[in-house]
């Protein structure tokens, strides 16, 4: 557990940071610049940062409260699930996003029987192309995961503990464990109560400043304009976004040098596959492969016209880092050039304009 902490508690004291845990903020008084916490105490501020995160969506189904039905967000969720992750147990994963597929991979590796139910006709529909989704579908299928695509869960069956997931078409999937990986909702309650602008997350400018200039918002709870995506407002759920937001805010508050912005980046580890993603693929009109899928090491570059906008790299770290560098420096490579595997990625990146 200690290994999961970003910093040990002692570091905060050394840096003169008063860390108040197990204390809930209940109200923001913007006029007097105070935060009221549980118990009535008030903390005054010159600058306030909301980093309230997000909450996993719960299944809106009868039976969702049965024992054995989980969402995945905290270490406590894992602790509760772990004793049930035993060889031969039946796991039904609802939702074929990254969380669902990563859980499916872990479960298969431990010898559970795994079924993934997804309402869309392919996995990862929201986050990647049909080509990359197809690869992951094949890999999981080869590992013994069963998929029900286009399946609509209707109810969770059981008396105390879950026994099955029923679908709208009458199909019933036996289950000892159900894991819902159907996305998160930004935690915006405090911001909402004090009247900050909300639009799928607490809206901020590029400096992470909310509609109140003394209040900032970062991480999963916030949406800021992303320069690599035509300055469109994005609420990115990622490690990179959380860290970068923190650096931006620290610079804005202290008057320090703002960080160099990175192209959004993400990763997902499944079995022995490391998927690394840079940029945002939404709005692509062409894809280019480097490497072939059957080698289980390939990169897919996403283009909008002549412009490289994103990469999905599977076991291809050089292609990932090279493309990330191009995207964040606003450079591109012609599609036939980037596909030329006889030239190393590093050389191609150096030649890009």
């Amino acid at each position: 557990m200690d290994r999961l902490l970003l910093r040990p508690a002692s570091v905060y004291a050394e840096e003169n940071i008063a860390l108040l845990t197990s204390l809930k903020a209940v109200w923001i008084d913007r006029a007097s610049k105070k935060v009221r916490v549980e118990g009535g105490r008030e903390l005054s501020y010159d600058a306030l940062v909301l980093a309230t995160g997000s909450r996993p969506r719960k299944l809106p189904l009868a039976g969702a409260d049965l024992a054995g039905v989980f969402t995945l967000r905290t270490a406590a969720d894992i602790d509760a699930m772990k004793p049930l992750f035993v060889k031969g147990k039946k796991l039904v994963v609802i939702g074929a996003g990254y969380i669902g597929l990563e859980a499916a991979a872990v479960a298969r590796t431990l010898g559970l029987e795994v079924t993934v139910v997804e309402t869309a006709v392919r996995p990862l529909a929201r986050v990647t192309s049909p080509e990359v989704a197809g690869f992951f579908l094949d890999e999981h299928t080869r590992q013994g995961v069963r998929f029900v695509l286009g399946g609509q869960p209707a109810l969770i069956k059981g008396t105390e503990h879950v026994t099955a997931v029923g679908l709208t078409d009458g199909m019933e999937i036996p289950a000892d464990i159900v894991l819902a990986g159907i996305g998160v909702n930004p935690e915006t309650t405090l911001a909402q109560h004090c009247g900050l602008t909300i639009e799928n997350g607490i809206v901020t400018d590029a400096q992470c400043r909310t509609s109140d200039p003394h209040i900032f918002a970062i991480g999963d709870c916030a949406a800021r304009p992303i320069s690599f995506f035509d300055n469109r407002l994005c609420r990115l759920e990622s490690v990179h976004n959380a860290i970068e937001g923190a650096k931006i805010v620290a610079a804005a508050i202290t008057g320090g040098k703002p960080p160099t912005l990175e192209a959004p980046w993400f990763w997902s580890d499944q079995y022995d596959l490391k998927l690394q993603i840079a940029g945002l693929f939404n709005g692509y009109d062409h894809i280019v492969f480097r490497g072939v899928i059957s080698d289980r090491a390939f990169a897919v570059f996403y283009y909008q016209g002549e412009k490289l906008i994103a990469v999905d790299a599977v076991n291809k770290p050089a292609e990932y880092l090279g493309a990330k560098m191009l995207i964040q420096t606003g450079r591109s490579l012609p599609r036939d050039v980037i596909a030329d595997e006889t030239r190393p990625m590093k050389e191609l990146v150096a030649s890009a304009k």
Binding site: R3, V11, K316, G322, V349
Partner: protein, 106 residues
């Protein structure tokens, strides 16, 4: 516990005691050694924990794996003993290890 010395680009030294099994990156982050960002937390996904292993220790820390090497190819100011510190596990054999930090991780 093994002692690790981190030398910032400015020359400032940090000596840290770290348990076996922890990585050189983790020990630095946990003691707030500046200059090791480790944005991804050790998943070998970001290449922001780049260090130069002191030449005298290069044999003991071993060589970068292929994933790590590919990531290092894109780091700044790479040298022959460059490593990603998230991929170096601390053991008694590394007691006294000295690593230097690059000018910048980004």
């Amino acid at each position: 516990m093994p002692k690790i010395t981190y030398i910032e680009h400015s020359g400032k030294e940090h000596i840290v005691e770290a348990p076996n099994g922890q990585t050189v990156m983790e020990a630095a982050v946990k003691h707030a050694v500046p200059g090791i960002d480790a944005d991804c937390g050790g998943a070998c996904a970001c290449a922001t924990c780049h260090v130069y292993v002191d030449a005298a220790w290069a044999d003991k820390t071993g060589e970068a794996g292929s994933m790590e090497q590919s990531m290092l190819d894109f780091a700044n100011d790479v040298e022959p003993t460059s490593r990603l510190s998230c991929q170096i596990k601390i053991s008694d054999a590394l007691d006294g290890l000295v690593v230097r930090l690059p000018k910048s991780q980004h």
